[in-house]
Symmetry: none
Subunit: 203 residues, 2 copies
DNA sequence: GAATTCATTACACATTTGTATAACAAAAAA
DNA sequence: TTTTTTGTTATACAAATGTGTAATGAATTC
């Protein structure tokens, strides 16, 4: 293995382990050069061949493109995923999720996934809002506002609808003319407010 | 928000974005100190209260404990994210991504994110297919089939369109009557095939 | 009100860090 | 063989970097 390859390999392992790039002299020691210039020499070549990217002064050596920083960031977190919202169970926190999904909370404007959960959308009643059958809906447990899309438990059934305010109170609006709106007879229990959507594409 | 909190917040966002900790002076500029000493002053406090860990000399400031080293589920992986596909650059692997996004490849039917990348959708030309302005499109570099939604480089411009076959060859179809279809004059370079969509919900 | 702590700044300085120059041997090309 | 390229080292140095000292005003405590 030549020096360039060894440098790349060390770059990979060091960055992975320490969560920041090494310095030229750390590379020097690891690869066995007696002068930092040897490292710079190869870094120049690796940069020309686009194997690495350099920015900033200190610790600015990154693996290029998709190979680079393919490391796990600290930002990912687990979201509980329910294939179906269990009807009649008001508190999802007490329900065992079917699995966990790892995603960055920031993707949906969340700092933590603490109050969030994911369910699969069933049916086409929200197609007008860009929500399709089979989508994964990311919901946050919080106080809903008028206009929010919410997962609600209405008279024993769970649905994803837009929460609309009216003279007489709330009702749940479909965003598809083929589906009726819902006016809760008695209770309206909001399970969560829609904050994101994940869709696997398959035509 | 006090200075200590602001420093932690910047630490979080900078490390997240640049994949390495910032320097004291970078923190200084971001938080608005006029001297680097102000930062050091708070770093000392944050270290004493175990909010951060310091090691090495340059760029050695890490968020401490569970926050910094929050473990990933084994299933998460990093996708390179490009805020815009650089036109004229056929190989995205050679381009430095703007940041990395952590998600499970399996969400999109992928085993690894090796050939995948993420870009933000611009414009409404694919609204008919349920793809909205601002969505994150997950694309995989692979041979496109007829009917696939692809990110393509047509005559120097990058667009997301449906690839359709015709007697005379390929063309790119918009899924919005307000937008024209594209018939590539010369070259048609497919950057990737749509495999998923991530949307942050904000009405 | 006085004393003390806290938050901040200006300045300084030893190290660290990246890279340049020059030199040299080995390998490859001519 | 001579020339050129490649890989490496010793030395040097400017810029970056972390932190120390002293000073200052504001807030807090006594």
């Amino acid at each position: 293995m030549n020096s360039g390859e060894r440098i790349l390999k060390f770059l990979r392992s060091y960055t992975d382990k320490h969560r920041r790039p090494p310095t030229v002299r750390e590379i020097q020691r690891a690869v066995g050069f007696k002068s930092p210039r040897g490292v710079s020499y190869f870094l120049d070549k690796l940069e020309k061949t686009r194997r690495i990217v350099r920015r900033g002064r200190s610790r600015g050596i990154f693996l290029a493109g998709t190979e680079g920083l393919r490391r796990e960031p600290e930002t990912a977190a687990c979201f509980p995923f329910f294939s179906a919202i269990p009807a009649g169970r008001a508190d999802l926190a007490e329900t065992e999720p079917d699995r966990q999904l790892a995603m960055e909370p920031t993707l949906f404007g969340l700092r933590t996934p603490d109050r969030a959960f994911v369910v699969r959308v069933r049916g086409r009643s929200m197609e007008g809002a860009g929500i399709r059958d089979g989508d994964l809906a990311v919901l946050e447990k919080k106080e809903p506002k008028a206009g929010d899309v919410v997962a609600a438990l209405v008279d024993g059934e769970v649905t994803l609808k837009r929460l609309v305010t009216e003279r007489r109170g709330w009702f749940l609006k479909s965003e598809n003319p083929d589906f009726p709106d819902l006016t809760p007879r008695r209770d309206l229990e909001v399970q969560g407010v829609l904050v994101g959507l994940v869709r696997r594409w398959k035509d």
